[in-house]
Symmetry: C2
Subunit: 189 residues, 2 copies
DNA sequence: CGATTTGCCTAACACCTTTAGGTAAATGCA
DNA sequence: TGCATTTACCTAAAGGTGTTAGGCAAATCG
């Protein structure tokens, strides 16, 4: 009988697709096996266990997100860069809700070190070069930006802003304006 | 044999405790049955299914959070109110990580309507009475506040801000300062 | 072309969820 | 107080997921 051609890579990739279709917490070893028309146990040659699979999907999502971020930042600075980067997060979450959820998976320090997390942090700091902040305010600002982006996107994804006026797009735009204004006028301690 | 005295209420309450101990996604009907020293099937007289249990835990957490918020807001206004309210979220999440995760559960419109979500929204708007914002800016501000609070707390809980200077408490304080400044000087469209 | 490695398989077990139907404790009513 | 009803918890059973161990056949390499 012909082989299915499983790979750790392909499993993570298919798992990411599955996550977008049915939700990250519905990503199961069984469902993935069905998708490859293969018996469940066969996956265990490529993936240590269910959690390992989920971690790989998370790492994949973080890389994709970082790639998009880098592309968005190229040739931009200041508010332009801020908005482009923010939109990367929001668009990614809307296009790939399962992957975005995966990216929120709590990683061990080693996994985190091997992840694209560092790239994200560096890109956020790069944006702040367009504003006049010195350490440690820059770190506070990095954390604020992460909070706003992640917070908004995850509340929006949870449906928090639908069914009420004004529409979410407008709030998003105004919030980015406000964040830009805040970074230009960061209050002293 | 003596009865265990199960109730829908007691199950939700015990489920919330369990969530704080082992994580919300580890809250299982079986584990809860063990905790009451009762057979698994017995829970199904009090709770429709596993998801129903989780929803009840989520609603419980939202209520508790709203209660704490109301207590914190009593007698405060302006930045004082802002900081007190924000600290309610952060402290609750740190004291009760499982419950906080539960509160993030995606609810159906009916469930959401029956939840304390409305109280949360009203309290956030009440804080904004201390600032000079009119609709629709007030709505944008409500959404920003929700994003910052939820975003910061969930990133912090995920370990995002540990193991790096300056410590999280300092960023939190400075971010609340910044948010206050922003609300006092909300940029026009 | 034969030997080795690799990929997917079957089998089995443990655990969780859920439903159906039984028995004993609690409750309510004469 | 005694009996009927309701209620609370039980046993039994079936289906799904996670995981490990060990086997056979396909790919690979000498």
């Amino acid at each position: 009988m012909a082989r299915a051609g499983l790979t750790t890579e392909r499993l993570a990739r298919a798992g990411a697709e599955l996550a977008d279709e049915v939700g990250f917490d519905q990503v199961t070893v069984s469902a993935l096996a069905k998708r490859f028309d293969v018996k469940v146990a066969s996956l265990y040659s490529h993936v240590r266990n269910s959690h390992d699979l989920r971690v790989r999907i998370a790492l994949l999502a973080l890389e994709e997100l970082a790639d998009r971020g880098a592309a968005a930042l190229a040739g931009r600075a200041g508010k332009d860069a801020l908005a482009a980067f923010a939109n990367v997060y929001r668009d990614y979450a809307r296009e790939h809700p399962g992957r975005y959820a995966a990216a929120q998976l709590r990683l061990t320090p080693e996994e985190a070190a091997a992840s694209a997390g560092g790239r994200h942090a560096r890109m956020t700091r790069a944006i702040l070069r367009g504003y006049d902040l010195t350490e440690p305010d820059q770190t506070h600002a990095v954390r604020l930006m992460g909070s706003v982006f992640h917070g908004y996107v995850s509340l929006e994804l949870a449906g928090g802003f639908s069914h009420s006026a004004p529409d979410s797009q407008e709030s998003w735009t105004r919030i980015l304006d406000a964040l830009d204004a805040l970074l230009r006028n960061w209050p002293a301690a």
